[in-house]
Amino acid sequence: MAVLDIRDLSVSYATPRGALKALRDVTMKVPEGKITGIVGESGCGKSTLISAIIRLMAPNAKVGSGEVRFKGEDLLSRSEAEMRALRGTEISMVFQDPMQTHNPVLTVGRQMIDIQYRDKLSKADKRKRATEMLALVGIPDPQARLNQYPFEFSGGMRQRIAIAMALMAKPSLLIADEPTTALDATLEVQIIKRLRELQDEIGCSILFISHHLGVIAELCDEVVVMYAGEVVESGTVRDVFHNPAHPYTRALLECDPGHIKVRTRNLPTIPGNIPDLVSLPTGCIFADRCDVRYDACGARPVMATASSGHQAACHLIAEKEPA
């Protein structure tokens, strides 16, 4: 069963130049109890997708079509009040900048007690739970630190606190949008490891957004690769990273500096730019940068099965598809 099941979701932004089609027919799932990663370069629509799931969209955004099923029910038809009740309880979020979560003028302890307002626990018990959560995410001396303000913590510590707060309500789904991108790499690995342990312990599903392939490989079970507003490939991390089916995924993996072991003065790149999302090309979205495009690519490819549970939107895969 999938906790989150997104079908044919399209979102556009109104701009002075016309509608910018940020998401087009996005279909993806977050299976129960798994960590699903979304990877893609800046502007591919990762944050737009998240904002559509939790229904905190920019004022100029518009959902064109599609469904966002959470535990079987479509969130797009829920009322604003229902969504508010869902956010922070059933679905929690962690953002790149933890200060987006923290209130700068309240102590961390006060904030962690406040978010338990729905629970019928004594204040002392809520404080105890807050202490336990901070310890769980790896904050040393948690009891004393509850009395401190967010600015008294380092960036890495603030992000741990944001994760603690997000997990406090035991959500079914945790959504993390580039939570470690602003951190140093040695701190990033600490947090990734802790997140993995917490997920094992709490058993929630996680949707983890990153542009860093290595982090996705290490943390996630499944991965969805996005390019210019479309899902181009999805499957288990092992299938996608060992046998990339889409030419974009292949190129992206080749460019990753962690991938290149032999010293070279000529690193691989993906020549060209992403297409203009206001006036889209017809046909395959990756065609003008694809090194294996052929006649068929003038028509838009649909998702085809590369192997069981592994799909890619490319004509070459459709041709080889087992009937």
């Binding site: 690995v189 290595g214 500096p257 730019n273």
Partner: protein, 328 residues
């Protein structure tokens, strides 16, 4: 022959003015760095945020005052050089900032931006149209870009414009501070390839600063790893990658997971966070986070020690290769 740039025991100290209740103190951002950059070679300085990389670079470029030590460029002392004299040298030593175009005026055309160094150096009588065209071609951009404005170009193109501007006066030493930070992986390589090509063509020496060890693997001859204002390891790039001496170097290497779920991970997790440079740990300054810390590390300061073709600052170099250490 002596190196193009010789940095010796350089300290950079900032005066710190706290809130109304705290007294005025000092921050030692760079604490005794020595290194050489040879003509036409690339030296990579790697370290995490706050380790003093930018401060060191700015001291070399004459933008910060070094409180102690010596910075020799072709044998000439740069420390305490009056600004008027330094200005001449800015034809030869250029600094490319982290976001070279974002920090400049959005109202200037690309042509004005890349030819500004000529005007600053009193060479504005040149044919700036020709120069702009030459520079754009050099960095692989179409000549029509001269008439555009910064908001009309992509992030990767803006970085190229930054390179064009930095190299306008045909410098000898380029200091590039985080030239790939914020770029997507598909264009990071473009930037590094461009720097490598221009280095070959122009015989440029480059000091490249980055927090990402992978970035310097292919482009540098030598790397220096910085922690809390000091170099903790230095060596030929290949050596450092193949056989890191210092545990911090090892941790940086391990912190860059490969895009492969089955990769054999040499997991080195550091404990805690970097300490405040206002409260430097005793002994080895890395001992509060070192996974291989031994009793004497918290009392004895490790000295800079040559090893192979490189050097390090650790009592127990290559400790990670010993089985009992890895097991603990």
């Amino acid at each position: 022959m002596s190196a193009l740039l010789q940095i010796r025991d350089v300290f950079v100290r900032f005066r710190l003015r706290g809130g109304i209740f705290s007294s005025v103190g000092t921050i030692d951002a760079v604490t005794g760095v020595s290194l050489d950059i040879e003509e036409g070679k690339t030296y990579g300085i790697v370290g995490e945020s706050g380790s003093g990389k930018t401060t060191l670079a700015r001291a070399v470029a004459g933008l910060h005052h070094a409180s102690e030590g010596s910075i020799l460029y072709r044998g000439q002392e740069l420390r305490d050089l009056p600004e008027a004299e330094f200005r001449e040298l800015r034809r030869e030593i250029v600094m490319m900032f982290q976001d070279p175009i974002g920090s400049l005026s959005p109202r200037l055309t690309i042509k004005s931006l890349i030819t500004e160094p000529f005007r600053i150096q009193g060479m504005g009588d040149r044919d700036l149209d020709t120069e702009a065209k030459r520079l754009l071609t050099m960095v692989g951009l179409p000549a029509e870009f001269a008439a555009r404005y910064p908001y009309q170009i992509s992030g990767g193109q803006a970085r190229r414009v930054g390179v064009a501007r930095a190299l306008a006066l045909d410098p000898k030493l380029l200091i590039a501070d985080e030239p790939t930070a914020g770029l997507d992986v598909s264009i990071q390589g473009e930037m590094l390839n461009l720097l490598a090509r221009l280095q070959d063509e122009m015989g440029l020496a480059i000091m490249i600063i980055t927090h990402n060890l992978n970035v310097v693997r292919h482009i540098t001859d030598t790397v220096g790893i910085m922690y809390m204002g000091k170099l903790v390891e230095e060596g030929p790039t290949e050596e450092v990658f193949a056989r890191p001496q210092h545990p911090y170097t090892l941790a940086l290497l391990a912190a860059n997971p490969e895009p492969d779920p089955d990769a054999q991970l040499m997991r080195v997790e550091l404990s805690g966070e970097p300490p405040s440079i206002l409260r430097r740990p005793k002994g080895c300054e890395f001992h509060t986070r070192c996974p291989f810390v031994q009793p004497r590390c918290s009392t004895d300061v490790p000295v800079w020690t040559a090893a192979g073709e490189g050097a390090h600052r650790c009592h127990f170099p290559e400790i990670w290769t010993r089985e009992e250490a890895v097991a603990s």
